[in-house]
């Protein structure tokens, strides 16, 4: 009986179950990571160089300023 039970789930019906679990997982993760637009706007985007204190000017402007190559 036990063998029959498991054979009933393999391999044909494991696919839908797996899909269902995957959908549940995606829904769970989506719930975790959803951000309201106003919050997303301040943590998912950065300002361009010039208004961003954490990003150097583009290389062309740096060269014009004789700042030299960016260290690596």
């Amino acid at each position: 009986m036990r063998g029959a039970f498991f054979s009933g789930w393999r391999p044909a019906s494991i696919g839908p179950v797996r899909t269902l679990l995957l959908m549940a997982l995606v829904a769970l993760l989506a719930g975790c990571i959803h951000l309201p637009p106003e919050v997303a706007a301040v943590v998912e985007q950065a300002d361009p160089p010039g208004r961003n204190h954490f990003r150097p000017d583009p290389p062309a402007e740096r060269a014009a300023d004789n700042a030299g190559p960016r260290p690596r």
């Binding site: 829904a27 769970l28 993760l29 989506a30 719930g31 975790c32 990571i33 959803h34 951000l35 309201p36 106003e38 919050v39 997303a40 706007a41 301040v42 943590v43 998912e44 985007q45 950065a46 300002d47 160089p49 961003n52 204190h53 954490f54 990003r55 150097p56 000017d57 960016r70 260290p71 690596r72």
Partner: protein, 319 residues
């Protein structure tokens, strides 16, 4: 204080338990710098003079650590704190810790965060945290009362406070818990600092439902206390100092008009992370600092600021 991602914005003390005493001591740590004499009343724990009531402050050096630091208007090192208690000859640590729980529907993480006051071995604490400092209590403090407060809070399972509400002692965040313990032991300085006036942080705090006017930075709790030691498994003393100089520089550049996304970015799958420029700056500093042994702290700070200019662009020294 806790945190990870916006969703994980609050897993401060998350880390995997690497525990075990096998690697404790100078041999297993890049920094094992004991600065205080043993003293007769102290327990000798791998060379550290440990006493009930001592205060631990720590930090992981992660994006979450920086996020917590940027919440406060003034920069301070460390974002977590805890109380040491010697129980039956064995040192344990009491701390307020938050743990994120998954939610459906995109509720802010403050609504799903769980946790509270917990107890762990000092050995585990030392191996879990990246940067750690241990402080002695000032003269006149009552360590027995501090221990009693910590143990009672643990027994009552006082929950974690994700809203950093210092006016509500029924829930506590890490440094609020330590401040209350110190107050129980007769040390009651107000260490609260106001939150940052940064507009983008204000947007996030609104979403999280955090209305508190101020937070207690862990370093403010131990201001004036005598340091017992510094500890880090992977970073040398110069690298520790360099990390805190990095954080100070980032904090200095995070002026009220700066978007949080400039210095910390959120990725749906990876949570909070450093933008490439900031990550590159940090890596460059950590690599360079490996060769800065013996340099005085002001020299390290100056070198970090010079690297910031190269990696992040020039920024006026007057800010």
């Amino acid at each position: 204080m806790p945190v990870r991602g916006p969703a994980s914005l609050f897993f401060l003390v998350a880390g995997l338990a690497l525990g075990g005493c096998a690697s404790l001591g100078p041999g297993g740590f890049a920094t094992w710098q004991v600065e205080a004499p043993a003293g007769s009343a102290a327990l000798d724990f791998h060379g550290i003079p440990v006493r009930t009531g001592q205060i631990l402050v720590s930090e992981q050096g992660t994006p979450n650590s920086l996020f917590l630091s940027l919440l406060v208007a003034e920069n301070r090192p460390f974002v977590h704190s805890a109380v040491v208690v010697v129980e039956d000859g064995w040192p344990v640590v009491y701390e307020a810790n938050g743990r994120l729980r998954p939610s459906i529907g995109g509720r802010p993480p403050t609504e799903t965060l769980q946790g509270g006051v917990r107890r762990l071995d000092l050995a585990t604490f030392l191996t879990r945290n990246r940067f750690i400092a241990l402080y002695d209590l000032p003269a006149g403090a009552d360590p027995a009362r501090i221990a009693a407060f910590a143990q009672a809070s643990h027994r009552r399972q006082v929950p974690f406070d994700p809203y950093f509400d210092g006016a509500d002692p029924t829930r506590v965040y890490c440094s609020e818990f330590v401040a209350l313990a110190l107050a129980a032991g007769g040390v009651s300085e107000d260490a609260t600092l106001p939150l940052t006036p940064n507009a983008s942080v204000g947007v996030i705090l609104d979403w999280l439902g955090i209305r508190t006017p101020g937070i207690i930075p862990p370093a403010s709790l131990v201001a004036g206390f005598s340091r017992v030691g510094l500890f880090s498994r992977q970073d040398s003393p110069a690298q520790m100092q360099a990390w805190f100089a990095v954080k100070a520089e980032l904090h200095r550049r995070f002026t009220p008009d700066q978007k949080l996304g400039n210095v910390l970015q959120f990725n749906s799958w990876r949570g909070l992370r450093f933008p490439p420029e900031v990550a590159g700056f940090m890596d460059a500093v950590n690599t360079a600092a490996a060769g800065w042994a013996g340099l005085p702290d002001p020299e390290i700070d100056q070198r970090v600021r010079a690297l910031a200019g190269e990696w992040l662009g020039p920024f006026p020294a007057s800010y």
